[in-house]
């Protein structure tokens, strides 16, 4: 399957629901033009302020779209450059919709944002550490059975928090996929 890594830097002032809606619709329309599996990288490095309303419109609704979208059936999202000052609005918005997203801090350290439980978070961290791995490999890392680990990995895939490489029979972290493909095209 064709995979596309698409990226954009977000505005400095992500305030008001109105602005959030405009930003989201622009991102949605650009993603809709991509074919196949899309990994969308949203860069928060230059975002000075994001408020709760805008976080809901941009962040939570895009993540929700990745889960239920009809036109964008195979969308995965990664937030980059997430700072401490972004966390409260983003966590709140994702929590309200009971969704989660893969993220990287400004330092590059991966972390999960939003609504997750302990086992899910551990399995996600294992995949981030390994980059790509079989169920067996992740099970060893976690100290769980293959069945339990398989369920967790499938859950993570269903939540669009990792990719499944059916040919290689491996699961792949979003960060790893980006490393393996071209660097994201950053648009102004």
């Amino acid at each position: 399957m064709r995979r596309v890594v698409w990226g954009t830097s977000l505005y400095s002032y992500l305030v008001t629901r109105h602005t959030g809606r405009a930003v989201r619709l622009s991102i949605e329309s650009q993603i809709a033009e991509c074919e196949g599996q899309v990994v969308a990288v949203l860069d928060f490095e230059n975002v000075v302020v994001i408020d709760f309303s805008c976080a809901d419109e941009v962040v939570a609704k895009l993540v929700h779209l990745a889960l239920v979208g009809e036109r964008v059936a195979d969308l995965f999202i990664l937030f980059r450059g997430v700072g401490e000052h972004h966390l409260d609005p983003i966590q709140s918005a994702l929590g309200r919709r009971a969704v989660a997203v893969s993220a990287e801090r400004s330092s590059g350290e991966p972390f999960l944002l939003g609504s997750t439980d302990g086992d899910i978070a551990r399995a996600w961290s294992a995949i981030c550490l390994l980059g790509r791995a079989t169920t067996c490999g992740v099970a060893e890392e976690l100290g769980l059975s293959e069945t339990e680990t398989g369920d967790l990995l499938e859950d993570l895939h269903a939540r669009r928090l990792l990719l499944r490489d059916d040919e290689a029979e491996e699961y792949v972290s979003l960060q790893q996929l980006i490393r393996e493909t071209e660097p994201p095209r950053l648009e102004p």
């Binding site: 002032y13 305030v15 008001t16 629901r17 109105h18 602005t19 000075v48 302020v49 994001i50 408020d51 709760f52 309303s53 809901d56 419109e57 939570a60 609704k61 401490e84 000052h85 409260d88 609005p89 709140s92 918005a93 309200r96 919709r97």
Partner: protein, 302 residues
């Protein structure tokens, strides 16, 4: 012949309630009645008092059908302060002002002069404009940690959006810092945001009134929005703003009061003793929000 509405000498939240009580009298605000707000003896005004005077004037105008007159403060010092707070610019759309053009003034020491909020663009401009001043005031004067500047910007954005999302009319925002010698013995930042729109009861009615039945009131609407994060939309992403403001102000040990219709709800800090919920107040349209952020004592002592 005009009906004179006396503006109290200390124009603050208490004075605003006095103005509201006066306007609740049908004999005062009957159709065709010309009102004159007499502010000549005002000797002190808070941000809440200043935008409250605009809101009161706006309501008087809509009830009587005539632009009310206003007598500005006699004190040159107070007039100068009102000038610096851009009172005249907004008052021109509410009152029939005495002749005279607003004078150009340099940068005031206010965090935010009286600013009308009509659109999302206004919210953007306010948030971007206050950033540098907020940094100076919050860090140096109130001894808040660095991240508080962003948190204040987020709070300002949410509280101003409340006007656009729910009021469906113009509103005003104003913020100032001063020393509360008697009340607290500390510096405080006071943020006032007001509109004269549909209010919380009106905004939430279509989605929540039926559930509450006869208990539906301004107070239940305020509780639903402020304490439970409910909004007029079924969308679970809505209604975060006020709750976020409440949480943030709580972290700063500050106070939030929201007056709407005939009720007022508050997050009361340990340094104040106002009731958390007041009902049976004189009816006033829209929502009037007061946020007080006191200086950090422990940080100042370090």
């Amino acid at each position: 012949m005009s009906v004179v509405v006396e503006v109290p000498q200390v124009l603050d939240e208490t004075a605003f309630e006095e103005l509201v009580a006066t306007l609740a009298d049908d004999a005062v605000t009957g159709a065709g009645q010309r009102l004159l707000f007499d502010a000549r003896r005002v000797r002190w005004a808070s941000p809440y008092g200043l935008v409250g005077l605009l809101a009161a004037g706006h309501v008087a105008r809509s009830r009587t059908g005539l632009a009310p007159g206003i007598e500005l403060p006699e004190s040159a010092e107070i007039r100068s302060y009102w000038q610096r707070m851009d009172f005249r610019q907004s008052a021109g759309e509410v009152f029939e002002l005495p002749p005279g053009q607003p004078r150009q003034h340099g940068t005031s020491d206010a965090l935010l002069e009286i600013t009308p909020i009509r659109s999302h663009q206004d919210v953007h401009e306010v948030v971007e404009r206050v950033r540098e001043r907020a940094a100076a005031i919050l860090e140096r004067r109130l001894h808040y940690p660095k991240p508080s500047v962003i948190q204040f910007s987020v709070m300002l954005s949410e509280v101003c959006q409340n006007i656009i999302e729910h009021a469906e009319t113009v509103g005003w925002v104003c913020a100032q810092t001063y020393h509360w010698k008697r009340r607290l013995g500390r510096d405080v930042l006071v943020l006032a945001v007001m509109d004269v729109g549909v209010g919380f009861k009106g905004s939430l009615a279509s989605e929540h009134a039926r559930r509450f039945g006869e208990k539906w009131s301004a107070a239940t609407a305020l509780e639903a929005a402020f304490l439970k994060g409910e909004s007029r939309f079924r969308d679970p992403g809505r209604g975060q703003g006020l709750q976020a403001i409440r949480r943030q102000v709580e972290r700063w040990n500050g106070e939030v009061r929201i007056r709407s219709g005939t009720a007022m709800i508050a997050r009361v800090p340990d340094w104040d003793d106002i009731p958390a919920l007041q009902t049976g107040l004189p009816e006033f349209p829209g929502a009037q929000i007061l946020i007080v952020m006191p200086a950090r004592v422990e940080a100042a002592a370090e």
